[in-house]
């Protein structure tokens, strides 16, 4: 009689930790990740300086440094969305998804790990982006800036960072749904830059859409927007909803 050894099983916690480590390793070893983040971080100061200049010569009175320095967020969010789409769609270029799912057969777990890994990379980058714009604006405006409180600075900065991270996750979800980089990029950016602003101009209900609700998290320029906290809640709800739809598709579709 030989003793039967019980099969070695991984605990759920260990499995999740290893899935997250695998997704992080894939993400940081993708050159596109660093190229996208580098390009975005380089473009932001240029835009921030342009906006600061425009604000100094603009007809509106003095504005505070966070208001001016965060205006560029509306444009550099394109870089974060592209990062999210690339993270999701790189799986489908060349069939890496089959290796991924062989190693991590639990699709929901893998999907959650992917989103968490992207959030871990995107959030610090978003914080740096937001802070660099505000620091530049504060430096350039100097004494001409409208006074502001530390609480306002912290609130708008954290709002901007969270907003960018959430839109990165929306990029991941749309990328996972569409599975092809270019169409996914066109869909999200077409919404963010063309459909969204035009809807906002026409219908008051558009302020509950993820772009308008989200901009309330960091921008104090938009009139008639929702309160910042409600904006954050709304964008989070949109993001979770989109991730849920993408997950449903991911679990039910062939790869």
């Amino acid at each position: 009689m030989t003793a039967v050894t019980p099969p070695v099983t991984r605990s759920h916690g260990r499995e999740a930790a290893r899935a997250l480590a695998a997704e992080l390793s894939k993400l940081v070893s993708l050159p596109a990740t660093w190229l996208t983040l580098g390009g975005t971080l380089a473009a932001n100061p240029i835009l921030a300086i342009a906006f600061t200049n425009a604000a100094r010569h603009g007809p509106t009175g003095p504005r505070s440094a966070p208001d001016v320095g965060l205006t560029s967020i509306a444009y550099v969010q394109a870089g974060f969305v592209v990062l999210g789409v690339l993270a999701a769609c790189s799986e489908y270029e060349g069939g890496q998804i089959r290796t991924t799912l062989t190693a991590m057969p639990r699709r929901s777990l893998q999907f959650a790990a992917k989103h968490l890994a992207v959030a871990i990379v995107a959030l610090p980058a978003a914080a740096i982006t937001a802070a660099s714009g505000v620091v530049l604006a504060a430096g350039a405006l100097g004494g001409t800036a409208a006074p502001t409180t530390a609480g306002h600075v912290v609130r708008t900065l954290s709002g901007a960072a969270a907003y960018l991270a959430l839109w990165t996750l929306i990029g991941v979800a749309v990328g996972a749904l569409v599975r092809q980089t270019l169409p996914a990029v066109v869909a999200v950016l077409g919404y963010l830059f063309i459909a969204g602003p035009l809807l906002r101009a026409q219908a008051s209900a558009a302020r509950y859409l993820p772009d308008s609700a989200g901009s309330a998290m960091w921008s104090s320029v938009d009139g008639g927007a929702v309160a910042p906290a409600r904006g954050a809640l709304l964008v989070s709800a949109w993001t979770i909803g989109l991730i849920a739809v993408a997950l449903l598709g991911y679990r039910r579709r062939d790869n």
Binding site: A50, Y75, G95, P183, V186, L189, A195
Partner: protein, 254 residues
């Protein structure tokens, strides 16, 4: 001629090109219909006497996103690497085997993009103007002889925008970056428009100068550019970028 036929066949068989077509027709006509119904409401309330002279044209300036996608995917699709299971090849190597002259290949491709861009502009222009007229009814501004050069300007703007997107993507060899930058710049407040706040020279960037061909009133416009000058400036930008793209394309490995 056969190279051109081949390029047209490639364009027509790309699914992304049909997405671009849908975007190019639906975006301006849809927005124009929404804006026209808002203008109709304002007219019936008596808040405004007539619909603006730019109704329809302003929207066609956004519809240019369709030809931007067209110009980008026309060349980025050549550089997409197939999956390892299907050999890991790229279409550009096949294309250059069939048409070994780089310049002839690029010329055929650019001509196909220009033809497709012009056709799309004509369809989108007709759809947008009909949408405005259907929604506004008797309040619609009449289409007269001075609309002919403006509509021609729209076609010229779309062709130039398609070729600019094409030339930039020839240089980058990947579609995501030009697509992201150019779509971000099609937004209501474009980056180039912000640059005009810093230097008036930014008015001579291709998208702003070209829009003078058909848009009459610019919010906060600082420089007066005639439609003809605007068209010439945009054409000069397009020619310059196409030349740079051609030089790079003929000199480097595929």
């Amino acid at each position: 001629m056969r190279a051109l036929a081949a390029e047209v066949a490639k364009l027509v068989s790309l699914p992304s090109v049909w997405i671009a077509t849908a975007a190019g027709v639906l975006v301006p006509s849809g927005i124009a219909a929404i804006n026209a119904s808002a203008a109709r409401g304002a007219i019936t309330r008596g808040a405004r006497a007539t619909a603006g002279a730019d109704l329809g044209y302003q929207e066609l300036a956004f519809g240019v996103v369709g030809v931007i996608i067209l110009g980008v995917v026309a060349i980025s699709s050549e550089y997409v690497t197939e999956s390892a299971e299907s050999g890991g090849g790229r279409q550009i190597t096949t294309s250059l085997t069939a048409v070994p002259s780089r310049l002839r290949f690029l010329l055929a491709k650019a001509s196909a993009v220009a033809i497709a861009g012009a056709s799309l502009a004509i369809v989108a222009g007709a759809a947008t103007m009909s949408a405005v007229r259907v929604v506004l009814g008797e309040h619609a501004p009449p289409l007269g002889t001075d609309d002919v050069p403006r509509l021609a300007g729209v076609v010229c703007y779309w062709v130039c925008a398609a070729l600019l997107a094409f030339a930039i993507t020839v240089l980058t060899r990947h579609g995501v970056v030009p697509l992201a930058v150019l779509i971000a710049n099609t937004s209501v407040v474009s980056v180039t428009y912000l640059l005009t706040k810093i230097t008036p020279l930014a008015n001579y960037l291709p998208d702003l100068a070209g829009a003078h061909m058909f848009v009459r009133t610019f919010a906060g416009g600082t420089v007066e550019i005639s439609p003809l000058t605007g068209g010439l400036v945009m054409t000069a930008w397009t020619t310059a970028l196409l030349t740079v793209a051609a030089v790079a394309f003929t000199r480097r490995d595929a």
